[in-house]
Amino acid sequence: MELMNREQVQQLLQSFANEPVYIHLETTSGAYAAHLQEGFFNSGAFIRNVQLTFEHAHVTPDSPHRVGLKLPHGWVYAQGITHYTVTERDELLLAGLDGEGKLAVALQVSRTPFAQ
C-alpha cells in the first residue's frame, strides 16, 4: 500500500459515486489486544460486501485522514486512514495502519463484490 494522497483518493472515491458499490468497512484492535495488554477493552466491527450508493465522498485534509461517504439516507465514515491502493480488479482500498504497520481500520469500495 502507499501513503495517502488526499487529492488522488478524493478523485478515486468520487468516481464511485452515484452507482451501486460494494463496501468493506472494518475496525480492529486485533484478536490479541487484551492478551497483550491486560484490561484492554477490545472492540471492533466488520462489514463486507454490503451494497450501497453514495452521492458524495470527502477526505479530510489532516492526516491520518477521515473519510466520509454521504448516502441518500445515511453516512459511512472511517477515521485514521493512512494508506491506499487500487487493486487489479479496480477495488479502492483505504487502510489505517498503526505505528507498527498493523491495520486498525479499513474502508474499501468496489463495483464488483470482494472475494468471499
Binding site: T28, G30, A31, Y32, H35, T87, A95, A115
Partner: protein, 230 residues
Amino acid sequence: MLEKERHVLVILPHPDDETFGAAGTIATYRSMDVPVTYVCLTLGEMGRAFGNPPFANRENLRDIRKKELFDACEAIGLTDVRLGGFRDKTIEFEEQRYLIDRMKAYIEEVNPSLLIAFYPGHSVHPDHEASARAIVHAVAELPKEQRPTLHLIAFSNDAKEQIGEPDVHRNVAHVVDAKIDALNAHASQTIWIVDWVKEGLQTDDPEVYEWLENEYFYTYDVEKEQLPTW
C-alpha cells in the same frame, strides 16, 4: 526420545499457527518418517500485519498467506496440507453441530494416533478457541478405541495458573534451522519476531533460545475434562 506415531493430525486455524505452536515437533516427526497431516482452517485473511512497510493489503493477504503457508510447511517437511475453507475470524460464529462434524470428518478420515490442536479456554484468539472446542467435542464423540491422543497448545496469560504446567515438553533444538525457515516463510506476519530471533541469536539471548528450542503441550483426556460449552 519421541515416540513414533502412526499418523499425526494437526488442526489449527491460521497459517503460522503451526509454525509458532508446533514447527519443531512437526519437523521432528517428519524426520522420523511419521506421516503428518495439517488442516489449516482459514487463510488468515483478516490478519492485521501487512509487512512494514506494507507489501500486502486486505484483499491480497489471502493469497500471500496461502503461499507463505505452503512454503513454511515445506521447510518443516510437511507435505500433506489441507485447507479448511473457513473465513478468518468467523469460526466461532459457525453452527456448533456443523463445526464438530467437520472436525470429526477430518479425524475419521486421517485416523491419527496423535492430534495437535489448541486448548479450549486457553488459546486467546476466537478462532483458536472455537476450533479447540469443536475438536475436543469431536474426539469425545468418537468410540474410545478410535480416539487419538490429544496434545493441546495453551498460551493464555492465566494458563499455568488454571491448568498447571504442560505435561509434554519437547526439546526441538535439532530442527531449529527448519523452524527458523518456517518463521521466515511467514514474512507478512513474522518480520517483528524474525528480527527479535536474529538479534537474539547474535547476542546469545537465552530467551530466544528457550523460545526456539522448546515446545510444550497439554495432554487432554476427554473422559476426565469438563468439556467446554458454547
